[in-house]
């Protein structure tokens, strides 16, 4: 290999794995032939090509265009947003109570829809159609155990310290980052199982379930928005005070959770649309 092997490997690594399996060797040779290390314009072109390849496949987190993979990542994002919302709402028990109940119900419907969509794969897994896939089931269990360990550590670090003190913030960041990592690892494991386990799919179950998933998320997002407005109407001092996550201003925490929910809804809608198109 002539030229800069490190640069060629790095540019190649920007492409999705499935693309690399098909074109990797010849593309690496072309980059060497073009002496890419001396031509910045071609480096930019290669990066643009990698972005296009990733988007064409639904992005690096959603390889091979599987609607269920997209739906699982949407559910992961929605879970993170939901935990954030729960953390935000814990100081407002009784405020906008009926709205809060509606939010919980809509979120439950969304997540039950995801379970329904994934049920045929779970059945196939239980029937032993892919025994190797069982190891992915361990990911959320080990992740939850790791998160609990980090939580205990964070509690020990922050014990006796004020809310904005360095130990408390460190503990919170540790718990939050680990939690997000566990959710991401679980989504990855679920997506892998859904891709590799051959399942019998009732024709209408999965599209219907994904439509319900997107609708449930949309309702949850709208209700979270209304919930914040109700808090503003019912308790303006809280709305403008430091009752957000980790005793930060309320409004940024509220907006962040609503935006995350909206993003999850968009992803779920994309997944539902793809599934509908695939079953036509």
């Amino acid at each position: 290999m002539t030229g800069d092997p490190w640069l060629v490997r790095a540019l190649l690594a920007c492409y999705p794995a499935s693309w690399r399996r098909r074109y990797g060797d010849e593309y690496a040779q072309l980059l060497c032939d073009l002496r890419i290390h001396r031509r910045p314009r071609l480096i930019v072109d290669s990066l643009r090509g990698a972005l296009g390849a990733a988007l064409n496949q639904g992005g690096p987190l959603m390889s091979n265009r599987s609607p269920m993979t997209t739906a699982v990542w949407a559910a992961g994002l929605f879970t993170v947003a939901g935990i954030g919302f729960q953390k935000l709402a814990e100081d407002f028990t009784g405020v906008a109570g009926s709205v809060y109940t509606l939010l919980i119900a809509a979120a439950a419907v969304a997540l039950l829809a995801l379970v329904a969509a994934a049920a045929p794969t779970a059945v196939a897994l239980l029937r032993g159609r892919d025994t190797g896939a069982w190891r992915y089931v361990a990911v959320p269990v080990l992740g939850a155990a790791a998160w609990y360990g980090v939580l205990r550590l964070a509690l020990a670090i922050s014990h006796g310290h004020g809310v904005h003190s360095a130990p408390n913030v460190t503990g919170f960041v540790l718990v939050a980052v680990t939690g997000i990592a566990v959710v991401a690892a679980t989504a990855w494991a679920a997506g892998t199982v859904l891709r590799r386990v051959p399942a019998d799919q009732p024709t209408r179950l999965r599209p219907a379930a994904l439509v319900v998933l997107a609708a449930g998320m949309a309702v949850t997002t709208a209700v979270a928005l209304v919930w914040g407005l109700r808090v503003q109407a019912g308790d303006p001092t809280a709305f403008h005070g430091d009752q957000g996550i980790l005793a930060t201003p309320f409004v940024p925490s509220w907006i962040a959770t609503v935006v995350l929910m909206a993003a999850a809804t968009v992803l779920a809608t994309i997944a539902g649309r793809r599934q509908l198109l695939a079953t036509r």
Binding site: W19, R22, Y23, D25, E26, Y27, A28, Q29, L30, L31, D33, L34, I36, R41, L42, V44, D45, S46, L47, R48, G49, A50, G52, A53
Partner: protein, 104 residues
């Protein structure tokens, strides 16, 4: 019409035109297009076009020669290139004719 012009200008057509002259690997295609048309295709653009054309069955990859894989125009690719070139020729004739008729 804008869409059609965009399609004519796209790298895929340049690749089809290059392969109409014989099988070539990636580097040979970029050199051929640069020499014949004066367009410099970057590696990302070239392989986006190659994968799209291959997916549509307009070209096919041949067995690799070392780390280089030559590509060949398929019958469907030749038909597509011919159809596009005919339309471009018709447009070129029309445009040049009308420009000559137009008062200065």
């Amino acid at each position: 019409m804008v869409d059609e012009l965009g399609r004519w200008a796209e790298p895929g057509l340049l690749v089809l035109a290059s392969l109409a002259d014989g099988d070539k690997h990636g580097y040979a295609i970029t050199n051929d297009i640069a020499e014949q048309v004066g367009v410099s295709l970057g590696p990302g653009t070239l392989y986006a076009a190659l994968s799209r054309l291959e997916e549509r069955g307009l070209i096919e990859g041949l067995p690799a020669e070392g780390r280089r894989r030559p590509y060949r125009l398929t019958a469907a690719g030749a038909t597509e290139l011919s159809a596009q070139a005919t339309r471009m020729q018709r447009l070129a004739t029309l445009s040049l004719g009308r420009l000559r008729l137009a008062p200065a």
